[in-house]
Each structure stands twice: as structure tokens, then as C-alpha cells.
């Protein structure tokens, strides 16, 4: 049955509350989310297409896309590995301090980003606890793009852990057992048996982490150094435009970030939907 037909036929909807929940949701989304966004497009309406293009392709702004996307990609990849490791350890092993470690995973969500930013900058500056260890070895973290990636990774790690964890928990024991009984080594079994179940969640989590990193400002600005063409992030470019009373310019750059992020989120949602459908074999 096609979705439309399902929707039309009353029998598919035995559950009540369609009108109420639809009403609340649509009202809320319109008032809280969409109405303010129109303000953004209202600003854009004042620009010609050529002006819009000129703003969003200006050299310094383009350089900031590169920095932001590059650092976000590195942060997301690091988090994919680190997050997978943490999720695995939290689900599969018992050890002292496990509950503490589990609780710690949400810290980046719970900690205000400005606090995270100030703290990371303090830790990783040349005279900070970490910086004073790393800099003699030739690793400069603060005020380089590594610092940006670090701040991004910090603020987005829970996305990966919290998406992978439940899937790993739900994985039936037979999956392992089957693999092990065939005599496969751990590495091979993990790659061949576990990963196919995990990677949709892993991609989703990593994707969310990536999107989150694209928009982050508070945590990054303290540690970035903000050198033009080198360590300026796109969110700073928006901030700069605002300082110049250039609302249209700020809105133009913001719209680029918004479109890219929304497109990625839509892709992730479709991906997730497909995955759930495949698991449950239903219409989703």
C-alpha cells in the first residue's frame, strides 16, 4: 500500500490523537521554528543573486568554509573511532567505574559550550596542563586548526556514543556466538559480523556530530586563534558581519550553513528511516 493510500484509509489509523498531536506539532514548528527563519530569508530578499553569490564566495569566507569543514571532518572521524570504542567498552565489559564513565559521556552536552571553550583553551595553551606536555614534543594544539578540531570533537562526542550504544545493546548474543563458533578471530568477526549491524548507527552518529560541529561557535572561538585564512571558522564570519551591522551578509552566510546542515540532516533521517524499515520489515 502506498503511503498516501495508507494515510487516506481510516483503518490504518486506529490510534487517536492525530488531530491533537498534529495541531500542537504544526503550531509549535510554525511559531517557534519557521516564523523566525522567515526573518532570515526576509534579509536575503534584499540581496540580488549576484550580491548573494559575491558574499558567500568571498575569499576569506571560502577559506573559513575549508577550515570549518576540514576540522569538522577530522573531528567526526576521530569521534567515529573513539565513540565506537567507548560504546563497545560500555556495552560489552564490566569494570569498576563503568557507571561513572557512562555518565561522563553526556558531559559535553551538559556543559555550556563557553565553559568548554575557556577550559579547553586553558588546558591546551602552551602553559596549560596539556599544552606544556605537548608543545615540547612539537604538537601545538591551541590557536591552530587542531584546537578547532579538538573543541568540535569535545562538543560532539556524545552523538556517536549515544547512537551506537543502543544498537550494540540490542544485538542478540547469537550473532557473536555464531561467528565465534566458526572459528573466526576477533578482528575478522568484528569486521564481518558486528560492523554490518553497527555501521548505519555509526554513520548516523558521525553525521550528527559533523553537523553539530559546523555550527559550533562558543567552544571554538577561545581556542581557534582566529587568524584570517587559516583558523577562522564560518560562525566567526557570521559574527563579523553582525559587528558591521551587515544583517544581509550575516544572513547570507548563515543560510549557506543552514542549507548544508539541513540537507545533511535530511539525508541522515532518510537513512535512519530506511534502516529501521529494514530491521523491522514493516513500512516504517
Amino acid at each position: 500500500m502506498s503511503q498516501l493510500a495508507l494515510w487516506r484509509s481510516g483503518s490504518a489509523r486506529v490510534l487517536p490523537g492525530f488531530g491533537l498531536s498534529m495541531g500542537i506539532s504544526v503550531l509549535f514548528i510554525s511559531l517557534v521554528l519557521l516564523l523566525p527563519i522567515t526573518g532570515l530569508f526576509g534579509q536575503l530578499a534584499g540581496l540580488s543573486l549576484a550580491e548573494y553569490w559575491a558574499i558567500i564566495t568571498e575569499g576569506r569566507v571560502v577559506a573559513s568554509y575549508m577550515v570549518t569543514i576540514g576540522a569538522a571532518a577530522v573531528a567526526a572521524l576521530v569521534n567515529a573511532v573513539f565513540g565506537l570504542l567507548l560504546a563497545w567498552v560500555l556495552v560489552r565489559y564490566e569494570f569498576p567505574g563503568k557507571r561513572l564513565l557512562d555518565a561522563l559521556m553526556d558531559l559535553p552536552f551538559a556543559l555550556p559550550t563557553a565553559v568548554a571553550g575557556i577550559t579547553l583553551a586553558t588546558l591546551y595553551a602552551g602553559n596549560g596542563w596539556m599544552g606544556s606536555l605537548l608543545e615540547p614534543l612539537g604538537f601545538q594544539v591551541a590557536y591552530t586548526w587542531v584546537g578547532i578540531a579538538l573543541a568540535m570533537a569535545f562538543t560532539s562526542i556524545p552523538f556517536v556514543v549515544r547512537t551506537v550504544q543502543p544498537v550494540l545493546e540490542d544485538l542478540p548474543a547469537e550473532v557473536d556466538e555464531a561467528a565465534m563458533s566458526l572459528g573466526a578471530t576477533d578482528g575478522v568477526a568484528f569486521r564481518r559480523v558486528i560492523m554490518p549491524h553497527l555501521w548505519p548507527a555509526l554513520v548516523t552518529g558521525t553525521g550528527l556530530a559533523f553537523v553539530r560541529s559546523l555550527g559550533e561557535f562558543g567552544a571554538i572561538i577561545f581556542i581557534a586563534g582566529n587568524m584570517p585564512y587559516e583558523t577562522e571558522i564560518t560562525a566567526l564570519m557570521i559574527f563579523v558581519k553582525l559587528q558591521e551591522y551587515d544583517y544581509a551578509g550575516a544572513s547570507a552566510i548563515a543560510s549557506v550553513v543552514l542549507f548544508v546542515s539541513l540537507a545533511l540532516l535530511l539525508a541522515i533521517n532518510i537513512w535512519q528511516g530506511r534502516f529501521v524499515r529494514r530491521l523491522h520489515g514493516g513500512t516504517g
Partner: protein, 275 residues
């Protein structure tokens, strides 16, 4: 039966790596905050915390969080119910729209509210002629806080409710239960931990939001200064200890939040074991 990664060496290696990385990456910043806050002793910390402006900032921050939570709760449950219990065109779009706050940089979130409800905005100018002020007053702070926090409850509930399916509820309705009763007796018990986790995340973000609030609050000390704004001001005034004292308070709220969550999960696990 042996499971993957059960060999003691692998186990130790992985646990060790996870603990070490978490300690460096997550725990160390937390320790640093408290170390800085107490670097000049408990008395200085206390003097900073009990200052009038700090107390006002704490009060305002908590009020905003308390007002935000019920609103986000109602919306989150309604949306999750809608997209997981019914099939209709535009469902996926609706589900993506709710992610807008994740996609919008907080500074931009503040800006779009300012453009709409500020003195020059098309709603704001009307409000201004009626002498109603939303921006640079606490309603504005509440509005942007709702904007940035509204996805959390829904995002927690949707995957869970999707995975659980609607068979139990359908059965209840078929047996003659009303809509509200069905929701209360069947749905709510199934989603309560996710719901509470959503509330906890909402609270954490509401308490800590900086970027969006800084645009619409105007940072009037003793009036529209939330704790994160207050913290930034102290930091700007060379009062690093005071700033980290506020940071420690926020971190403490974060820790209480995490403890509440861990407690809930533990309780949930125990109940499941009973059944």
C-alpha cells in the same frame, strides 16, 4: 560461550584505552574547572558565588529552565506521537524541520529572533507601539532557549517509539480504552526513561545556552544576565576565579543532571530485572 573481544588481553587493552582517552579528553577539563574555581580557596569561591549579581543570574537561569521544560515536553511528546504512530505525507520533512535548531548556529538563532521581535522587526515594531518588550527582557531569553532546546525530547522519543511500534496501544484502543488512558497507561510507562532523559538534556542545554541568549539578552547585570553570560563578563573583567566559580556552578548542575540520569537508568535496569 565466548563472545567477540572477550579475550583478557583485548579486554584490558580496550578498557584501558577507553578510560585513558576519556580521562584526558572528558574528565580533565572538568577537573580543571574546579581546580581553577578553588585556586584561591573556598572563601574566595564562596564570595564569588554569593555575590548579588551571581545570585540573580542563578535565579534567572533556573526560572528560564523551569519554564522551558514543560513547553518542550508537551511539544516533544506530541511530535513523537505524530511521526511514529501515524503515516502521512510530509512526515519525514516534519522530522527534519525539528532538527533546524541543531543546524542553526546559536548566534544566528538569536539573530533571527531579534530580526523578528526586535524594534525593527515586523512583529516587534507592532509590539513596540503597544509598549510590549520581549527582546532584552526575560521573555526573549525564554523564547530563544525554547528554540535551541526543543529538539531534545522529540529526538529521544522518536527512535524509541519507532522501535517499539504501536501494537500495544492498538490493542488497548481495540479493547475500548480512550485515547488519553491509552497514552497514560500504555505509552507513558514504555517511554518514561527516554522522556526523562530528554528532559534532562533539555534542562542541561537551557541552563547552559550562551550564544543565542547573548544576542537577545542585552546583558544588563542584575536583570537579564544568565549564568553563562555572567561567567563571560567575569572572565572579561580579569576575574578568572569568579568566572570559573560560575563555571563550576554550571558544571555542578551538569553533574547533578548526569547523576540524575545515571540514577534513573539504574532504577530502570532494576525494574526490568524484576519483571
Amino acid at each position: 560461550m565466548r563472545r567477540i573481544g572477550d579475550a583478557p588481553a583485548v579486554r584490558r587493552l580496550l578498557i584501558g584505552a577507553a578510560l585513558l582517552l576519556s580521562a584526558l579528553f572528558l574528565l580533565l577539563p572538568l577537573v580543571a574547572i574546579f581546580a581553577q574555581a578553588f585556586s584561591q580557596g573556598v572563601m574566595v569561591f564562596w564570595a564569588n558565588v554569593s555575590n548579588t549579581f551571581t545570585l540573580h543570574a542563578i535565579g534567572l537561569t533556573l526560572v528560564i529552565a523551569l519554564l522551558t521544560i514543560p513547553i518542550c515536553l508537551v511539544f516533544g511528546v506530541a511530535l513523537a506521537w505524530l511521526v511514529t504512530r501515524f503515516s502521512f505525507p510530509g512526515r519525514r520533512i516534519l522530522q527534519t524541520l525539528i532538527d533546524i535548531p541543531f543546524a542553526v548556529s546559536p548566534v544566528v538563532a538569536g539573530l533571527i529572533y531579534l530580526l523578528l521581535y526586535g524594534r525593527n522587526g515586523w512583529i516587534g515594531s507592532w509590539l513596540d507601539t503597544h509598549d510590549i518588550q520581549l527582546m532584552f527582557a526575560w521573555p526573549g531569553i525564554l523564547m530563544v532557549t525554547i528554540f535551541v532546546t526543543c529538539p531534545f525530547v522529540a529526538r529521544e522519543l522518536i527512535p524509541l517509539m519507532q522501535a517499539q511500534g504501536s501494537r500495544e496501544e492498538e490493542a488497548a484502543v481495540t479493547l475500548g480504552a480512550g485515547g488519553w488512558t491509552t497514552f497514560r497507561r500504555v505509552t507513558l510507562p514504555n517511554i518514561r526513561w527516554a522522556l526523562l532523559y530528554g528532559i534532562i538534556l533539555t534542562n542541561a542545554r537551557a541552563v547552559g545556552e550562551f550564544g543565542a541568549v547573548s544576542v537577545v539578552a542585552g546583558a544588563i547585570r542584575g536583570k537579564t544576565n544568565t549564568l553563562p553570560l555572567h561567567l563571560e563578563q567575569l572572565y572579561q573583567d580579569y576575574n578568572a576565579v569568579g568566572a570559573f566559580a560560575s563555571a563550576a556552578l554550571l558544571a555542578l548542575i551538569a553533574l547533578l543532571t548526569l547523576a540524575a540520569k545515571a540514577g534513573l537508568e539504574w532504577r530502570a535496569a532494576r525494574q526490568e530485572a524484576f519483571l
